[in-house]
Amino acid sequence: MQLDAKIPGGLLTEKWDRNLFELKLVSPANKKKLDIIVVGTGLAGASVSATLAELGYNIKSFCLQDTPRRAHSISAQGGINAAKNYSNDGDSIWRLFYDTIKGGDFRSREANVYRLAQISNNIIDHCVAQGVPFARDYGGLLANRSFGGAQVSRTFYSRGQTGQQLLLGAYGALMRQIAEGKIKTFPRREILDIVLVNNKARGVVTRSLITGTIETHAADAVVLATGGYSNVFFLSTNAMTSNVTANFKAYKKGAFFANPCFTQIHPTCIPVHGAYQSKLTLMSESLRNDGRVWVPKNPGDKRSPDQIPESERDYYLENRYPAFGNLVPRDVASRNAKMQCDMGKGVGETGLAVYLDFDDAIKRDGKDVIIKKYGNLFQMYEKITGDNPCENPMMIYPAVHYTMGGLWVDYNLMSTVPGLFVIGEANFSDHGANRLGASALMQGLADGYFILPYTIGGYLAETSMQKVTADHPEFKDAAKKSESRINRLLSIKGKRTVDDFHKELGSILWEHCGMSRNSEQLLRAQNLIRELREEFWENVIVPGSGKEFNQSLERAGRVADFLEFGELMVIDALARKESCGSHFNEAYQTEENEAKRNDKDFCHVAAWEFAGDDNEPVFHKEPLAFENVELSQRSYK
């Protein structure tokens, strides 16, 4: 199958307008007759549900959480980018586009990224109108701050809770449409399968997490806004319930999975402190605006930080990258932290941490100013570690945070399964091999408010479909298969808990497919994952029954999918014989240990097609054409 990204012709700057004009429209009267299923209520899911409902479609909205407001977008801290140029520092749509393409190490689509930059401004307008309390300057106008990978100040923020505030805006819009009767909401539901009728996505199989009832829902199109798969690593900054299940079921039903090995490791997280640790906590990248990253110059220096004189400190980011300093992109910052720790210069109990020091910023601006900017982050840090960042430098270490890979979609955000659309972090399209800070919120909302509402109409207008109901045999069949899988999980009654397997999978991936990779390790990981998967299906213990609220069972289903998906990540990492962005293969690096791309052979999207449980997935290539930017070695020096 030849992948067709359906990128409109013409000038880059005109592609989106042209596409909008070329998309067929659904008349208002017909919209009322169309049903759309939206899975997920994060920024992408909530915003698209609300917007589609505003347009007149009937929406069924599903989420795992007890209410749509708790989707994991809520944890995003730092901010959202837009090319408003309110700071008058030379920003433009073109510059945001360029920074994002370059930040992604030239592994994303030009047309998508340009559209994202164009729409960024509408998002800010809309969110302000919704009552999102963005930070403002003394004149009452919107304030901006800087973020990694950019030399302009274009990030809008609400303290350290930007994701929360944007999500509450979208959640409000969703709630409004529920009250209007246009959206029916299904909280505490997990997706067990995607149902295809005549090769088109027509519905989902769900399980009520409260009663365990398996339900089927039919519609005219299905939208997955299910987020990323960082939890495959067990320890990540994602919420505990974040999972790959819906996406992986879609993959098994024919949606291609693109670039699964592109996983972002965020440089500023609170280090791991024990084997019982359940998740990692991110400290916003915005801290790098004022915090200085350093380690002792001498390996093994175990003195407390205040005992180490200035001359014996290595501010390695400032030294290596004078132009961007502490604000280099995330992949670069993370890899450098790992390199310092590998050299034995890591600090803290485990030696797996570096300092993020606010001492100079406090001396320069005063404690009050710094507290005002980062107070809630400092508080969060202190709650977890029992240590005050105003007195001692923070200790940070990279952690898995975001996944650039996801289901493959065309320019209209449709997967390779007709009628199955994928938006937000769940798709692969906009961030290439590395996402810049404050771009995830931008992409989720761009997809949800301003892109999919139009492009889904194009699909629905030109596709003739019979109405199907959940009584269709395909639904019954899918429900039966889902149920038998649940029964199988419950019947194993082995000796190891679900979390135990999950932790082992996570550590395999972190060790072999983490911040730096090599082919030998990846091959080993592939075998380890297979063995672990086999053991899982023979030796997992899942207490309770399938007909009740059973959190162990929920986790078991997700981990079973992670165990398959993890192998796909490794296969993708093995196939990409270059280094780019977050994917750092030790065999491909510059003399200065930076990622070395191979544009001749790997300037493409790797899209994987499921070929059966016992077969290796089939590789498909979407070549990336760069007509407007020049491919260059990323340099932040």
Partner: protein
């Protein structure tokens, strides 16, 4: 600072409310031995649950998700205090270093007529969603907005609105209120939207609709005990309840 020297493990007795079905309920006692003080409270429950699972027993059901204090999913009463004894802290941010060796902890779900218990410590907080559905938003369709800087908003106003908007909807205000009232939750949303010029056009309809819905959901009445403010993990002030009352008077009487 928690350094290696004062790191220690503690033993606790837990009395946890177990409930599966309306009649099958009561407190069960568990012994949490050898708990690292660096653990979070939820990690301690994880450890208990892993042990229960291996013993072939039913693990304790509890709500949790982001584990960084922002999603509002977690929350139980610990020895009579919502989210435990620490101020401005969600349950997931509570760490075991705040407990002493030998402590007994009574762990109960949020109790209120409006929040039905689903299982063990998990309750149904959908009444809070119903209140938001009644009007906790600004009615603007995508595409209609003017330029973001078209309306300047004084910094102080934006900050006060943000203070109120920080609510995570965890329900600790209801749980800790002697009357199981949701006034702080409603007050926070009303304040957030009433303070901003964008929220003003609907302010009068909004407050009436939300208060009516709050009553319909059988929450108690506020008698200004201030327990909600004292327990709110985001330290939202009862000045927001006063603002709700003001908005209500404006809407109801003028």
């Amino acid at each position: 600072m928690t350094s290696t020297t004062d790191k220690k493990n503690i033993n606790l007795t837990l009395k946890i409310w177990r409930q599966n079905g309306p009649d099958n309920n009561g407190f069960e006692t568990y012994y949490a031995d050898d708990i690292s003080t660096d653990m979070s409270f939820l990690e301690m429950i994880d450890v208990i649950n892993e042990r229960l699972t291996l013993e072939g027993k039913d693990p304790v059901a509890f709500d949790h998700d982001c584990r960084e204090g922002i999603c509002g999913t977690c929350g139980t009463m610990i020895n009579g205090r919502a989210h435990g004894p620490e101020k401005g802290t969600t349950l997931c941010q509570l760490h075991m270093r705040h407990f002493a060796d030998g402590d007994t902890l009574v762990i109960e779900p949020w109790r209120s007529r409006a929040f039905k218990i689903i299982k063990d410590l998990v309750v149904d907080r959908s009444p809070l969603d119903k209140i938001i559905q009644a009007g906790g938003y600004i009615s603007v369709n995508a595409g209609k907005a003017p330029d973001a800087n078209a309306i300047p908003i004084p910094q102080e106003t934006a900050e006060t609105a943000m203070d109120a908007a920080a609510c995570i909807g965890c329900g600790a205000c209801v749980a800790s209120c002697p009357n199981a009232s949701a006034m702080l939750f409603v007050g926070a949303k009303i304040s957030h939207l009433a303070l901003l010029p964008q929220g003003k056009p609907e302010a009068m309809i909004r407050v009436m609709a939300m208060v009516n819905e709050m009553d319909r959901q059988c929450f108690g009445n506020c008698t200004n005990h201030r327990e909600c403010e004292a327990e709110c993990p985001k330290e939202i002030s009862i000045t927001n309840i006063a603002r709700l009352n003001r908005e209500f008077i404006k809407s109801g009487l003028f």
